[in-house]
């Protein structure tokens, strides 16, 4: 039983890692006041670009870089539409998701069915990885897992303890006031949205290069939408993103583990999506109680003229 629990916990972390990357990025994007519903599209572009680049160059790092660039370029489209053209952010993000699903399908067609030639190898952290129980549980993952774990405190620190973070938050809360203080509102928003794209791209690459090393059309299968829900669940705080991402990672593991017990896989596949609704419901109650919520200027375009 202990082995079962340990194995499940251990599997939950890689399963949650793509969600963690995506959520950390979306938190920054939304903190600047831009809702990007295109996470699914950015993630899948990251997945296909990462896989294609790694497969052709034989280097995982080139793959991850390609995924980050692909995510950023996708995000740039959304930034241009929502910041410069000030179109409806919901619809623009939706269009981005469709675009990503379409382009990735075409790009990935020739990679379907190929196993990835290179892998992210697990790193055994010396000494620590030999600890009983904890060693296996925490210290034998690949670099991208550790990197995401490093990003959580780092992004929290930047957001709350640095001038850059203050700037970002002020743009998301009150762009007019930020503008008066000489902050370049469009620049901050472009940067935040594109950072979100980089992170979503890397999250997608983790899916296609480490978690399930292969390219399958539409392989993100809703992960990008779960990310958006997790951003709300995290109350736009990087630390809580960790909790949410691993919770969903755990559910993914549970899906596989419960299948042998004779429960229909189709019913089990509903779990993450039902849990998403549950999590949104919990967050809505919490937000009402503590009077905390979305960045005040979320989803509102800013223009000096209409201030």
């Amino acid at each position: 039983m202990l082995d079962f629990i340990l194995a499940a916990l251990r599997a939950a972390i890689p399963a949650g890692t793509p969600l963690l990357y995506g959520t950390l990025g979306e938190i920054y994007s939304e903190r600047s006041g831009v809702l990007n519903l295109g996470v699914e599209g950015m993630m899948i572009m990251g997945a296909v670009s990462g896989f294609a680049a790694a497969q052709t160059t034989g280097s995982v790092w080139v793959g991850i870089l390609a995924a980050a660039v692909a995510g950023a370029l996708m995000a740039l489209i959304h930034a241009f539409a929502s910041v410069s053209l000030r179109v409806n952010q919901v619809v623009s993000g939706l269009a981005l998701t469709m675009l990503g699903l379409g382009v990735s399908g075409m790009m990935g067609k020739r990679f379907v069915g190929q196993p990835l030639v290179v892998r992210l190898q697990p790193v055994r952290i010396p000494i620590l990885s030999d600890l009983p129980i904890l060693g296996v549980l925490l210290f034998r993952f690949d670099v991208m897992v550790y990197f995401s774990l490093l990003l959580v405190p780092l992004l929290w620190f930047v957001l709350y303890k640095t001038r850059a973070g203050l700037t970002l938050r002020s743009v998301g809360e009150n762009p007019a006031a930020a503008d008066v203080q000489g902050i370049n509102v469009p620049f901050v928003r472009y940067a935040a949205v594109m950072f979100g794209g980089v992170m979503a791209g890397i999250g997608g690459a983790y899916l296609s290069m480490a978690y399930a090393p292969a390219w399958v059309e539409g392989m993100t299968s809703g992960a990008g939408w779960i990310v958006i829900a997790l951003t709300i669940f995290a109350i736009w705080d990087p630390r809580r993103a960790l909790l949410g991402a691993y919770l969903f990672g755990g559910v993914r593991v549970l899906q596989f583990r419960l299948q042998p017990l004779g429960i229909s896989p189709n019913l089990l596949n509903m779990l993450p999506f039902l849990l998403t609704i549950l999590v949104l419901w919990l967050s809505s109650g919490q937000a009402a109680k503590r009077r905390i919520g979305a960045p005040a200027a979320l989803m509102t375009a800013y223009s000096r003229e209409e201030r």
């Binding site: 489209i77 623009s92 939706l94 469709m98 223009s303």
Partner: protein, 357 residues
Amino acid sequence: MRIPRIRIEKRLSTPRWLPVASLIVALALAMLTIAVIFYVLGVNPIVAFQRIFRGGFGSAFGLRETVTKSIPLILIGVGLALAFKGRMYNIGAEGQLLVGAIFATGMQRFFPTWPAFLLLPAMFFAGFLGGALWAIIPALLKTRFRMDEVLTSLMLVYVANEAVKYLVYGPWRGTDTRGFPITDEFPAAAQIPSLVGSRIHYPTLILAILFAVLVYFLLARTKLGYEIRVTGENPAAAHYAGMDYQKVALLVMVISGGLAGLAGMGEVAGIHYRLRPPEAISPGYGFTAIIVAWLARLNPLAAILSAFLFGGLLVGGDAIQIALNLPAATVQLFNGVILLFVIAAELFNQYRLRLEV
């Protein structure tokens, strides 16, 4: 670093020709962009566009198929136009379609001996009910708990997807289907008649056009329609005018979900005569209909036309998939690019742009 700023000035008035002109320009630019993407990905855009056009509109067979595929698009597009007018972002029509299909299938399972004149209307009703019930969940979550309907309605698509699979792989799998995950064929009384030599199940088509007209009048000529429009355009003003936001939200979701459910009924009882796995029932009608509604500028009557256009695109898309060996997701590329340009075009009707470098 300085980002070249695009200055946006509000127009004092919109010339009448502008909305139409900007739409045409947007569509042309979207096609150009898609051509460039095709080219970059190694697909000859001229050949691809020719095949799409010929596939969807270039032959009698193609046109019949285009009309067939525009039936669900009209139904859902009209409903979504209404929902978006009331500012309810129902993104889950695909799921509502599937639940409508489940309910309609269930109806003929429970009353297999009913004659067609009873059974078909009952199935249409069940389809509407299923879609409406699936749509009322996000509506209630929104009005009662302020939960974002975009996410909840979309999550329910995945749940509906798995529900259909569960049924066709499990309890509803047919007895004589040689292991395929499909139900038994519907009895003749549960099959919607089609025009001879085509798959155009005309009762559903008539229903779709009827609903387009009804929703148009609801929006344009009734007090309720006025409340929906005001709530959508200016929720604060609607609130001060004493309009009931919750009523509007629930109503537009029930209608849009119900129409999507009718579309699902049309597919299973008019095309397949069985419940099949979700990807076989719908190639994403619920998502494509979002663009149908937006391209029609949320006008239910114009949605008929844009549904026909996208019906042709779906048929042509099937044609190039086979001819040029492209994946099914190619149609999504069209959806995404066209939607981006259409919303950008809307901006030009209200604002003029000036580039400041």
